[in-house]
């Protein structure tokens, strides 16, 4: 067995024989031509054919991978009709009296070198686009067919690198996976592989040899590994991994776009919890209805100083835009307790879980809070953002928060910075005090979200890190469930909605009970979204 490591661009497991992608070989020779006008015309004819082929590819890609990803073929058309590109080719043909093939190849080299020399990885990757479109014209000029390989059996496609046009022209039904020597996670091939749901590993380097053609192989798209001639043990592990992945994908296929509704017609929203921008992909992949908890802590934990308003704004805006109108509930800073950050200069506490944390920091150090609120209100213009405040115990805290918000809005208005006037506001229900006060609190906010981890620990007075207490700990303790029920009744009595964003939300044994309580939303880790949605549809 040979194991080669690369970079994963799409999860999933592929098992099958390797087909090494072969291109039609052509060598471009420089020849003299007498009639340069005719040669220029010959190029233009070839170019026009290429453009119409690209139009066809655009239509195919539009169907296979959607408009955003198909756009690359429109850009390829623009490249072929770009005046700089055309002028360079015409100039070479006319001044050197040479054949069109030579002029195209030379121009392609020059333009791709321009991209390769740029100080930006993304733009460097575009050199491949120039080569791809030029190859197409060269194929037409030389009269070779496009090099699309007929596949009779499903195969893992291996190559040095694949151009977008090559990827999209492959018979999708017969492609098990992609393994390439080069390429970047930004390459269109990587993007297309992701959209086409095909496991792909790139950057395997020179250890991926053409002589592996026809050999049995396994791609583990989760770890970015390629196994050539896998041993029995590896094969078994991979088959199991593949089965599990297929199950998840089948569930997705079955549930995608469907409502979360019980047999008797009760509806509930299923959202996902995330802790970083990079998790948004998983949210969309698992078809969650929104983001029920976006922990903003990573912005603070990953920084060596307070994140600026612009930094935060860019992150919130990106998530809101990526979710395209779906709800994104962002929780304000929840530092303290087990999450410590040096530059906050917090004192060491005897009992941090009951200490100076979350909203308590925000209300005593409003300058930190205001920066975050400004970024949130500005970003709310770009999507469906709601804001949620953690560790609330009293109505007075909520009023103080609202006062700070009105100051923030006033400041933004005076500075002429665009922001959203009316942002949905909610609080975390994670202290017994907030449950007891829930009727009053519900008058002040639009929604509640129950943080069951802290609520359980505070209600039962049990530290979950202490294993000696396991015998006393019951995750389904009736006291906790009674707390949630009480908060739900009070929320609904005052016209607010209520959800759960803690671990209990993903507990499938409790789904039925939560539905009975009339909860409006459950927010769980992305991987739990589909199993939970399935469970809801089975409930009465």
């Amino acid at each position: 067995m040979i194991t080669i490591s690369g970079k994963s661009v799409f999860g999933g497991v592929a098992i099958g024989k390797i087909m090494f992608y072969k291109r039609s070989e052509k060598s471009i020779k420089r020849t003299r031509v007498d009639d340069v006008d005719a040669e220029w015309q010959r190029f233009q004819d070839a170019k026009n054919i290429a453009v119409s082929q690209l139009k066809g590819l655009y239509d195919k890609a539009l169907e296979d991978v959607g408009e955003t990803n198909a756009m690359i073929f429109e850009i390829h058309q623009m490249m072929l009709e770009d005046l700089d590109y055309l002028e360079s080719i015409e100039n070479i043909i006319r001044t050197q009296a040479v054949n069109a093939e030579f002029a195209v190849a030379t121009t392609a080299d020059n333009f791709s070198q321009m991209f390769a020399a740029m100080d930006d990885a993304y733009m460097q990757g575009r050199a491949a686009d120039v080569k791809d479109v030029s190859e197409r014209v060269l194929d037409i000029l030389c009269g070779v067919d496009e090099g699309v390989q007929e596949m009779t059996e499903p195969r893992i496609i291996a190559a040095d690198d694949l151009a977008p046009s090559e990827t999209v022209q492959l018979d999708k039904e017969k492609v098990l996976g992609f393994a390439t020597m080069y390429g970047s996670a930004n390459s269109h091939t990587a993007i297309l592989a992701r959209t086409m749901n095909i496991p792909a590993v790139i950057g395997l380097g020179e250890s991926l040899l053409p002589e592996y053609d026809g050999k049995m192989a396994v791609i583990d798209g989760f770890t970015g590994t390629l196994y050539i001639e896998p041993d029995e043990e590896t094969m078994k592990v991979m088959q199991e991994k593949r089965a599990k992945d297929m199950e998840q994908k089948a569930l997705l296929e079955q549930l995608k776009g469907k409502e979360n509704v019980t047999k008797s017609g009760q509806k509930i929203n299923v959202y996902a919890n995330i802790g970083n921008v990079s998790d948004v992909g998983a949210v969309l992949k698992n078809d969650a209805g929104g983001i029920g908890l976006f922990r903003s802590e990573f912005l603070y934990l990953e920084n060596s100083d307070f994140p600026t308003e612009e930094q935060q704004f860019a992150v919130y805006k990106q998530v809101a835009e990526n979710m395209a109108g779906k709800k994104v509930i962002i929780r304000t800073l929840d530092i303290g307790a087990d999450k410590q950050v040096d530059y906050f200069g917090l004192d060491k506490e005897e009992n941090p879980a009951l200490g100076y944390r979350a909203i308590r920091i925000c209300l005593t150090r409003p300058e930190i809070f205001k920066t975050q609120l400004r970024a949130l209100y500005r970003a709310a213009v770009y999507g469906n953002i709601s804001i949620m405040f953690p560790m609330i115990i009293s109505v007075d805290e909520v009023r103080k928060i609202k006062k700070i918000i009105s100051e923030v809005k006033e400041e933004l208005k005076n500075e002429g910075i665009p922001f959203k006037e009316d942002v949905e506001l909610g609080i975390m229900i994670e202290t017994p005090a907030s449950v007891m006060m829930s009727r009053e609190l519900a008058k002040e906010v639009d929604f509640f979200s129950v943080g069951t981890n802290d609520l359980t620990q505070y209600t039962l007075a049990i530290d979950r890190q202490n294993s000696k207490l396991d015998a006393f700990y019951d995750p389904h303790h009736p006291a906790v469930l009674a707390m949630i029920k009480m908060a739900a009744e009070n929320a609904h009595a005052e016209g607010a909605w209520i959800g759960i964003c803690g671990e209990l939300g993903a507990d499938l044994e409790l789904t039925e009970e939560f539905l009975k309580m009339g909860l409006d939303e459950l927010s769980v880790s992305p991987a739990m979204v589909l199993p939970l949605r399935k469970r809801i549809r089975e409930c009465e």
């Binding site: 850009i75 490249m79 005046l83």
Partner: protein, 85 residues
């Protein structure tokens, strides 16, 4: 001649897709449309030129329009940049 300055906010800068839609937009005007970043200027109707500038997020560009329909062009382009870039 008319011009405006704009700071690009798209996190990826003017990469392939935005460059493509910019070129399409610019090509719709009779006027010449130039885009300048620092000392480099490109014809906004040419995709290689625009991509060659390598404009990244947070960088300022100047758009210069000159020709018969420059008034319409400058107004529409400014709106276009705000909307797309």
């Amino acid at each position: 001649m008319k011009e405006f300055k704009y700071v690009v906010t798209d996190p990826e800068g003017i990469h392939a897709r935005p460059a493509g839609i910019l070129v399409k937009q610019a090509a719709g005007y009779q006027s010449s449309v130039k885009i300048t970043k620092g000392e480099k200027t490109a014809d906004a109707k040419r995709i290689f030129g625009v991509m060659g500038l390598g404009v990244k997020t947070g960088e300022e560009v100047t758009i210069t329009v000159e020709g018969a329909d420059e008034d319409t062009a400058i107004a529409e382009l400014e709106a276009f940049f705000k909307e797309n870039l």
